[in-house]
Amino acid sequence: MSKKITIEPVTRVEGHGKVTIYMDDQNNVRESRLHIVEFRGFERFVQGRPYWEMPVLVQRLCGICPVSHHLAAAKALDVIVGAGAGDGLTAVGEKMRRLMHYGQFFQSHVLHFFHLSSPDFLFGFDGDPLKRNIIGVAMENRELAVQGVMMRKFGQEVIRLTAGKKVHGTGAVPGGINKNLTIEERDELLKGPDPMNADKMVEWSVAALDFFKGYHKANRKMVDEFAAFPSNHLSMVRKDGAFDIYHGVLRAVDAEGKIILNDVDYQDYENYIEEEVRDWSYMKFPYLKEYGKEQGWYRVGPLARLNVCDFMPTPLAQKEFEEYKAYTNGKPNNMSLHYHWARLIEVLHCAEVIRDLLNDPDLQNEDLVVKGEKRHRGVGVLEAPRGTLFHHYEINDDDLVTLANLIVSTTNNNEPMNRAVNHTANAMLNGHTEITEGMMNAVEVAIRAYDPCLSCATHALGQMPLEITMINNENRIVDHKTK
């Protein structure tokens, strides 16, 4: 008798998802699928709206990473207003946007590591579910928990001061920004009383990396083998190959490190990336056109970024990057739980960049916006915390949006997340007739490593209880659990 096991929603990921694992009559995993349960159709919604509304409008996608959407839309509209494709802004325009973006990255990664993932490291995948949260972390390591909260707060303050406000910020406008950073605002972040200053954030970022590396050292086999599988990796890099999350070219490498997409202009992304629709999911499956659906899928996000770039352009992050790369002898890292290691190196890099930017007098310049000859098509790409984010808009002569295409980070990771689930399900569930808490959480841990934002990927709203349903091949429920 074959069974279908459904786990919904996936807890501690942003948004909501459902995992279905199909078992055969020998209680082995036959197939697994990560489902998306609701579709919001945002791309259709923005059609017919004036183009200049986009940077604010797209923040309605979700409240998790509004800054990423805000900036990706602004970058696309830079092209439309003739302000260049990411490199034509004034110094203050680009640097303010970068500060906002690095602040968003910092707080998002901190949330993920301290609040979503560190409980797994402290208590194990089969630990008490009531402990696997930030309060549990506090009971075990109070200092770590407080650091997590204060680092999040610092990142949010960077966003507030650069975007103008926390909700529906308007910092980026087509062709530039609408405010610079005053000396008072700069000093609030640069010289704030401990711990709310950039130096402390750098110090704590190093400490967070040490925490992870200590865990890794003690649990090397598990961390290295859990949901490890080869893949291609896609990311944006600076033109000289440096790690860059705001602007650059698209590059992809295969599992061995061979470059398979060689620093292409993202304005032409449609020539290189295709999206597959599958009938069982609302989320598309992107892949590199040249390599086809089977061979062209790729990972994005921290793991991919560190596999694709040549170096980190800040000293402390570069030192950590060298250690990280040495672990795989310079080859691409294909271990899913190493996403956390890569993510924390990015946290350190962001803290260093934020500190450097705050010391840059260009932030007080007043030439905020540039404009040129209007165009009817613009693509904005950046690296969002969860991976490469594409915004593509086309407008008509009345300045109204006629086409919008968004490929969000989580969508780019759709195939690898499904593979991670399948890998874990095979390792944990084969031969079993009951689903334990530890097994369930292992599947979730595999997904969580990718830090998916499912509400963003599908634009879903709503909450559901966690449900596990086992259905046999006669479509009858044979077991049902909730939590």
């Binding site: 929603p9 807890t11 501690r12 990921v13 942003e14 948004g15 909501h16 919604f45 409008l57 923040q59 309605r60 409240g63 998790i64 509004p66 949330l111 609040h115 979503l116 009531l130 696997r132 949260n133 930030i134 309060i135 506090a138 009971m139 109070r142 928990a145 407080v146 997590g148 909260v149 204060m150 999040r152 707060k153 949010q156 406000k165 926390k166 909700v167 529906h168």
Partner: protein, 167 residues
């Protein structure tokens, strides 16, 4: 008004989703009212949703009122007392409940401010800005109630328990 009492009115929701903006609208009206009346001990804040780091902000206040829109089947609004609670642990963490914020506040910062939640009834949740007409009426009633209660409470908070704030 006893200006030693530090008050936070925290409105949250998505102003791009019509009546989901009720919490934020309330916070903005309270801010205006407090400035007009020189109640500089009353601070307001807004966000799309509550986050774990809000626990740190809350830890510096004596009284906190969380304001949100609700789809619940209630009349104009509901005002209730909050206690720190770990019963409903929010695993997704991108959006945490007020009682969980209080719980984090208590555990990490050893503070438990007196706290209430105001839930204001909303009706429309489309991708538009601006409240529905009925939501505007509810907001007005809730605003009158909250300002009256804040004035009464802050004036006499030494003698009145927090339960006096309950509707």
């Amino acid at each position: 008004m006893n200006k030693k009492v530090k008050v936070l009115v925290y409105g949250y929701g998505n102003p791009g989703r019509q009546d989901d903006a009720l919490g934020i609208e309330m916070a903005e009206r309270i801010k205006e009212w407090a400035e007009k009346n020189h109640f500089d001990n009353i601070e307001t804040d807004t966000n799309y949703q509550l986050n774990v780091e809000d626990a740190e902000k809350v830890s510096k206040k004596d009284v906190v009122v969380f304001v949100d829109a609700t789809q619940e089947d209630i009349h104009e609004f509901k005002f209730s007392r909050l206690q720190p609670s770990s019963e409903k642990v929010e695993f997704s963490m991108h959006s945490v409940s007020p009682d969980y914020v209080l719980h984090v506040c208590k555990e990490l910062f050893n503070k438990t401010p007196k706290s209430c939640q105001m839930a204001i009834k909303g009706y429309r949740w489309d991708f538009k800005e601006g409240l529905s007409d009925n939501a505007k009426l509810n907001l007005e009633q809730a605003f009158q109630y909250l300002t009256r209660r804040l004035e009464q409470y802050i004036d006499t908070q030494v003698h009145y328990p927090i339960s006096m704030l309950s509707k």
